[in-house]
């Protein structure tokens, strides 16, 4: 399962990279777009995706079709960007807010895609 999770986290990270690459201004380096949109470095974001993946229940890795599972990954990345737009990663409250984000996003997506 560890291998699967590692791959999943990598998928989320590359989706975020593609996401930012697609929306950034032509001349802006990708690392600057991380800072501008999410107020965090690529490294911070990578740690966040590891934590999210760690919390995802196993059913997310095998239940439903591959198509649905891909949709879920995209939703996670989009929700994460929306969340980060409001947050200050250096604030003391960030850890708690982030932990809320993880559990409620998983619950919402689990419900939306009938995972549980």
């Amino acid at each position: 399962m560890e291998d699967v999770k590692e791959k999943y986290a990598e998928n989320l990270k590359s989706l975020a990279r593609v996401f930012l690459h697609d929306i950034k201004d032509k001349n802006m380096p990708v690392k600057d777009s991380y800072l501008l949109i999410m107020g965090a470095t690529q490294h911070d974001v990578s740690i966040c995706f590891d934590k999210i993946t760690h919390a995802i229940p196993d059913v997310f890795f095998y239940k439903r079709s591959a198509h649905v599972r891909e949709n879920i990954k995209e939703d996670i990345v989009k929700e994460f960007v929306l969340f980060m737009a409001q947050e200050d990663i250096t604030a003391e409250s960030f850890d708690n807010d982030f932990s809320n984000f993880i559990s409620f996003t998983i619950a919402e997506l689990g419900h939306k895609y009938k995972m549980f």
Binding site: H21, D22, I23, A66, H67, V68, K78, A85, N96
Partner: protein, 451 residues
Amino acid sequence: MPFEIEQAITEAEAEKILRDKTYANEKGPFGLTRLQIVSLQLLSTPEDHKITANQRKIIEMFLHDSMGKMDLNKKLRSMLYTDLKEFQLNKKVIEDISYFIYKTRRVNQISAILEKVTETQRRIDNNIALDERHKISFMEYSVFVDGARLNKVFTSLQKKVQYDSSSHIGKIHEKITRADELNKKMEKSFSQSFKVHPGTFSTESIKKKAIMQGEVLSFFERIVTKIITKHKHTSKLYENKEKEATLSHINPNPTEDKFLLRDYLYTDVYQIKIENLISSKNKKVLQEIYGANWLEQLREKYARIEREIHDNTAVSFAGLLAQPEDFQKKSGRASLLPFGLGHLKIKKTSFSEVHRRILDRHYKNNEGRMLCSEFVAQCTIAAMVELNKQLAQDAAAKKVNFVGKPVKIPISKHEDLSLIQPDRFIKILKSKGCVEKRKKAPEVAKYFKKT
């Protein structure tokens, strides 16, 4: 010494909590105050439990005080791992309230943002000019959407508590409802202003998306575009009976969806120019049959056929399912071969068979798998075959003849339809000079800041 939990709250107790602040704030189990515990217990009561006026006041006070209190959220979440029944607490209620607290952590900002969006909407409704300060940033948009999403939670709390609309919490609920309505209105104002002509479809060109959108959309628009969309494929776009722009697509089951702002922001809309598929000789024949406004009548016929095909997509195409991911990759690989070789096949596709299957609702009771873009391509072929059939009938009635088929179908019979990806579909149409990309309407830009 923490207070003991009562089995059921008496009216005298409720009165005391409301009257005596020290008593209400006395700490009990989980480090919660009496007011907090009692409120959570009341919210945990069965649906048919009638809440008294004093109990309602207690809950109103609790909800108002707990908005955005993340320390309370932390306590509640840690309680989820303990035995709550012992304290007459319901796990779902604790989860809902911690969600409520979490989502209200920016409640102070919601008011200001809401005012801004309201003013923007008022200006749009009254045709008053907008400048940059009336537009919202991405951060504001994300708070606004969070607010709009809270409406569900508030509505279920209102159902349980029946709080007064003039109470603090009632007033905030009103704002949240307004955010939800405005969010919907932003989408509605768009869908009403968007007119679909026959032969229209929407698609996302994965490779060139950034460049194409970059030409038209600002930075924040681009982020929002990515955030709020769901379609990453080709969909048929047509006007339904109610004259609403509607998506008919395979995602992964056949579905009809309203074409909303988020879809529009995300996708590129293409329109097939049917007149470019008709030879000048046949245009003259059409003029003989229908008179000077032949093109208008032709489009009307075409639109009617599209409605016939796509209305009720979910039922008419019930047996269809999107191709699995590995197949989509295979069709992507076909594009890598030179001269489009990967996409062509020796055997010809019978277009009349494609027409028969689509118009006779073959997929209603028979199973099949298609790429999303293949579905659009097959429906386009079927609509054109049907249009040719109807035109030929009208020509026969007027005793005139077309040279060959009136509308030349732009897709080759050698094209392997099962491998037709969005990019390939557009490439074919472009090579026949019969497709045009629709320009983005100003509706998109008006809400968002440019930088």
